[in-house]
């Protein structure tokens, strides 16, 4: 008597699922729904659950995952990451983490990476760090490396964060975002020469060099090497002028304004920053910061 029941349950549930609670927001969900109606299968349901999650429909995803488990028990590890995302979207970070624990124990690096992010989001930084360390040892991506370093920074351990950024950047082809993060930490640590060397690994890739030259100038100024700083700022301004003539974008205008400010041409810098603030919501905060920084020397 058990066998027929197992067959019956999925059919009933699937019948209900084909009339979706929401209009599918996504053509791919619509297509999958048709395929599922014709040939219900766990992989298709899992795929649809993933799409529901992408669109923020946690309940629909949960129902698909439950159906997939009914049709084809097993693969708990593969689906754990999706279940965790369901709970994360419902704001239940503890449930999300609990969902991932067995998968992590079973050796899933994806589950480990997901749990690291959830723990970091929940502010459980020491636990997050342990997960990041275990994850990056097996799978190094720029996002995981950033998460690893940022967690150390949040824990107030900048020296270790710097070392982590340095190692990861080296393994990831000097990935710019990791080098940028490292330079910020090096400046905090007042390790100016290392910051300058890090900048140099990037400057050679940049055809428009002014943002990197401005950064170089700032580090030199922090190191008390004022003359060198001015030289860097002047070079930044020359390059910013060259690029601005070629690309009249609001960002190149702002970079030029920052260079003008750096060399003490405050009035021009402020006028440009005002224009940027009016023209670009995207860059308004940076323009406002420039205006605030130059307020005193007006």
């Amino acid at each position: 008597m058990i066998r027929p029941l197992i067959v019956l349950v999925p059919v009933l549930v699937l019948g209900a699922s084909t009339a979706l609670a929401h209009d599918p927001p996504n053509h791919d969900i619509e297509e999958l729904t048709e395929r599922i109606a014709a040939h219900p299968s766990a992989p298709l349901l899992v795929e649809r659950a993933e799409l529901w999650l992408q669109e923020g429909f946690a309940d629909e995803a949960a129902s698909d995952l439950r159906m997939a488990a009914t049709l084809e028990p097993g693969d708990a590890i593969g689906r754990a990451v999706l279940w965790a995302e369901v709970w994360r979207q419902r704001g239940r970070l503890d449930e999300a983490e609990a969902e991932l624990d067995p998968a992590v124990a079973a050796g899933s690096v994806e589950a480990l990476a997901a749990r690291a992010r959830i723990r970091a989001d929940a502010g459980r930084l020491t636990d997050a760090l342990a997960d990041y360390e275990a994850a990056v040892a097996r799978l190094l991506t720029v996002d995981l490396a950033l998460g690893h370093g940022r967690t150390l920074e949040r824990l107030g351990r900048p020296a270790e964060a710097e070392a982590v950024y340095a190692v990861h950047a080296r393994r990831l082809g000097n990935a710019t975002v990791l080098v940028q993060a490292r330079i910020q930490v090096l400046r905090q640590l007042r390790r100016h020469d290392d910051a300058l060397r890090a900048i140099d690994t990037q400057v050679r890739h940049a055809r428009a060099k002014s943002t990197w030259l401005l950064l170089r100038g700032a580090v030199l100024a922090e190191a008390g090497r004022t003359e060198d700083a001015v030289r860097a700022y002047l070079a930044a301004l020359a390059d910013a002028e060259r690029v601005y003539r070629r690309r009249r974008s609001v960002a190149s205008r702002l970079i030029r304004a920052e260079a003008l400010a750096a060399v003490g041409r405050t009035a021009e810098a402020r006028a440009e920053a005002e224009r940027v603030r009016a023209a670009s919501p995207q860059l308004a905060a940076r323009a406002t910061a420039l205006l605030a920084a130059t307020e005193a020397s007006r």
């Binding site: 990037q202 974008s249 970079i255």
Partner: protein
């Protein structure tokens, strides 16, 4: 997120060992990587700068069946020939298909051509049609690089699907053209961006370390590269985090801050604006790319952004700042013109961005095609070709039947400089026809002087001493034959603000439509036959505009619907020509039979096998509003008046409808004087006190071509431009109807 799917996929991909012909990857000014798959244990590439001198050798790294040979230390913009071998020796010569040209020097103004394809990977006939339409259109100027915006291997991006639906389908192209890809969701079913694994990442060798230009991304999932004066950015909209503080968009900001190229072109799979098979107002990947990536790209002045995913062709107006959800157009369209050089004028790319959805490379198209940012949408398969030439980009949609259904020009003026946009040089312009000039100049340029040279710039004559800086002027091309015509536009107050075109040709050959669809015809729809000279004279019959006929409801002029039907109805009009016709094309719309005459000579007959007598019905039918095109013999035309006449026959006395319309396109050749007649001669110019000359040609600032002297015909003045506009209008109308 995709562990379950990935596991299955990796198993699938591991079992296949496919053969793939050599293809190019990571092409830069000084290196290229050649990749191929076969059953050999080792691989080697032999290459050289002549097809029969493959003197250099590079051993490939081999993993499974895939070989990758990285050729470095190459010369900039140089053609090389190669052979992919098993390492046992080099052949005497490279196959004709196996060659490549290294990229131009970064930052140079070298012109190049780009092919953009999306959502192609069905392996079906539509995909092949799209490919062949492109090849047919480009002819001897094939694309220099190929961009694929994703979904290149349906349904799951497996190794076999890649081999058949991508590498097999484009094999001959890929042997000599680098394809730069963005990952689609269908590739994402079997590939993982986090681990950079799966068939997509196996197939491609992409720059994660900035080796092709741009800042190091640290991943093959998103990357950038430079080609001449364009910086290309490729994002992963499917499987990499799309948040503003994620690594991808942080890198994007740093990468763009370091770009100094004239142009920025970006592409990824999920388009920020679309109403095709996907809707950018509702789907999270599309919404996130719009809300998160576009503000960064636009602030750095990105010029052209391509997406796919949505199976449709869509091309936007010049837009800026439309990041909200849902997307509205109000306040975000910077230029509401068509962007055409021969229309409202090109877009000034300094002011905004153009968005293109090229999800029409082979898969079935669908959607409402009514996105408010789009100037043009088309539900048919095709691909995009764009040409970069210094400060100008010209983009065209090549539909699968070879028709160019959308055309757009972007120009990029340099601050404080004047830039002539049209003509650029290389054009062929009919003498005596309207010659539209377009330029961009700073706002504080009040007036410009416009000059013409007929000898490659050695001598100049004034067309306008001073005309307002409104960016355009339509002049009449002089009645001169030359291959060295140039125009020059100069700020009257600042001679440093000046630009001149390259050489273009003025010819006596003129292509035009003396009769457009919708033209005005005399007609005879009565029960009795007309006089025998009906097709050699005009006058005395009633007139009406085409389409003429009855019974379908789409007629502009309704004819007599007698019972029983009159078997034959007659149409005629006269046109005047001032030269020899070297080519003539006839397009007719008919129901049920038609015969066309030029000056009494029959040039076309369809379903008139039972004769032309008035009381004879048609000998067959092609259904309602059938269309046919024929090239006809030009010798039937004469200089002066010509009578174009047609008769249309009913199928029977009881048939419900009858239709007629006709378009005639002619190429007319006139004898013209050489360039000496144009400047300083007696060809309508007068010497000026300063020793220069002034053309006495009329200028026609309203651009309608009206009253322009010396055109190929008398009816042209009223018809040529409105005809073209009318056709375009019909196209848009047809699209709207399909929604």
């Amino acid at each position: 997120m995709r562990a379950a799917i990935l596991t299955v996929a990796l198993l699938l991909s591991a079992t296949a060992t496919a053969q793939r012909a050599p293809y190019l990857q990571r092409l830069t000014p000084t290196e290229v990587t050649i990749v191929w798959r076969d059953g050999n244990a080792a691989g080697e590439v032999c290459y050289g700068t002549a097809p029969n001198a493959l003197t250099e050798r590079v051993v490939a790294s081999t993993s499974g069946s895939q070989h990758e040979a990285r050729l470095t230390g190459l010369n900039v913009l140089t053609e090389y020939f190669y052979a992919a071998t098993d390492g046992s020796g080099c052949p005497a010569a490279a196959a004709a298909t196996d060659h490549f040209t290294t990229a131009p020097e970064v930052g140079s103004d070298t012109a190049f051509r780009v092919w953009v394809v999306g959502d192609s990977g069905t392996g079906g006939s539509r995909q092949a049609e799209v490919r062949d339409a492109m090849l047919g259109w480009v002819g001897a100027q094939p694309p220099d690089i190929y961009l694929h915006v994703g979904d290149m291997a349906y349904a799951d991006g497996t190794t076999n699907e890649f081999t058949d639906n991508f590498f097999g389908m484009y094999s001959d192209i890929l042997r000599s053209t680098n394809c730069w890809p963005a990952m689609g969701n269908h590739e994402g079913r079997t590939a993982d961006s986090g681990t950079e694994s799966g068939p997509y990442y196996d197939a491609y060798v992409l720059p994660r370390d900035g080796v092709a230009g741009g800042m190091p991304s640290g991943t093959e999932a998103y990357y950038s590269f430079d080609h001449a004066n364009v910086h290309f950015v490729v994002l992963d909209s499917h499987d990499s985090p799309r948040s503003v503080d994620g690594a991808m968009l942080q890198w994007l900001d740093a990468d763009l801050a370091a770009a100094d190229a004239t142009w920025i072109v970006a592409f990824w799979h999920h388009p920020p604006y679309t109403k095709g098979s996907h809707d950018s107002d509702n789907e999270s990947q599309l919404v996130q790319m719009r809300e998160n990536a576009l503000p960064i790209l636009e602030s750095y002045g990105a010029d052209l952004i391509f997406g796919g995913h949505s199976h449709i062709y869509e091309r936007s107006f010049l837009a800026r700042g439309a990041f909200d959800t849902p997307t509205t157009a109000a306040g975000y369209l910077v230029d509401t013109g068509d962007g055409r050089i021969d229309g409202d004028g090109p877009y000034d790319a300094n002011d905004g961005t153009v968005y293109v959805v090229a999800g029409h490379g082979g898969a079935g198209v669908s959607g409402s095609a009514d996105h408010p940012l789009m100037y043009f949408s088309e539900l048919d398969q095709g691909s995009v070709i764009f040409d970069v030439s210094g400060p100008t980009i010209t983009l065209r949609n090549i539909r699968r039947d070879g028709e160019v259904t959308d055309e757009l020009t972007l120009v990029k003026g340099v601050e404080d400089a004047l830039l002539l946009v049209s003509p650029l040089g290389g054009e062929t312009i009919a003498a005596g026809a309207p010659l539209p000039l377009r330029w961009l100049a700073p706002d504080d340029t009040a007036n410009v002087r416009v000059e013409l040279s007929l000898d490659g710039g050695d001598h100049w004559g004034e067309l306008e001493a001073s005309t307002p800086n409104d960016g355009e002027l339509v002049v009449t091309a002089p009645e001169v034959r030359t291959d060295e015509a140039r125009v020059r536009v100069t700020d009257t107050a600042d001679a440093t603000r000046t630009d001149e075109s390259g050489n273009f040709s003025l010819v006596g050959t003129r292509t035009f439509e003396p009769i457009a669809f919708g033209g005005r015809w005399e007609y005879h729809d009565g029960p009795t036959a007309p006089t025998a000279d009906w097709n050699t004279t005009t006058g005395g019959w009633p007139e009406g505009n085409a389409e003429l006929g009855y019974g379908d409801g789409d007629e502009v002029t309704e004819l007599l619907d007698a019972d029983p039907n009159v078997p034959t109805v007659y149409f005629r009009q006269s046109i005047a020509l001032d030269g020899e016709v070297t080519r003539a094309e006839l397009d007719v719309l008919y129901d049920d039979a038609i015969a066309v005459f030029v000056n009494g000579s029959q040039v076309l007959g369809i379903h008139v096998d039972d004769g032309l007598d008035h009381d004879t019905f048609s000998s067959g039918s092609d259904g309602d509003d059938a269309r046919a095109s024929r090239t006809i013999d030009g010798s039937v035309f004469t200089t002066g008046e010509n009578v174009i006449a047609a008769l249309v026959k009913q199928a029977s006395g009881s048939s419900s409808d009858l239709s007629f319309d006709l378009r005639l396109t002619l190429v007319v050749e006139r004898d013209l004087p050489g360039p000496d007649a144009g400047i300083g001669g007696d060809g309508g110019t007068a010497p000026r006190p300063d020793g220069s000359t002034r053309f006495d040609g009329s200028t026609d600032t309203d651009g309608d071509g009206g009253d322009d002297g010396g055109c190929g015909c008398t009816t042209l003045a009223a018809r040529e431009l409105p005809g073209a506009l009318l056709l375009f209008g019909l196209l848009v109308l047809a699209l709207r109807r399909r929604r």
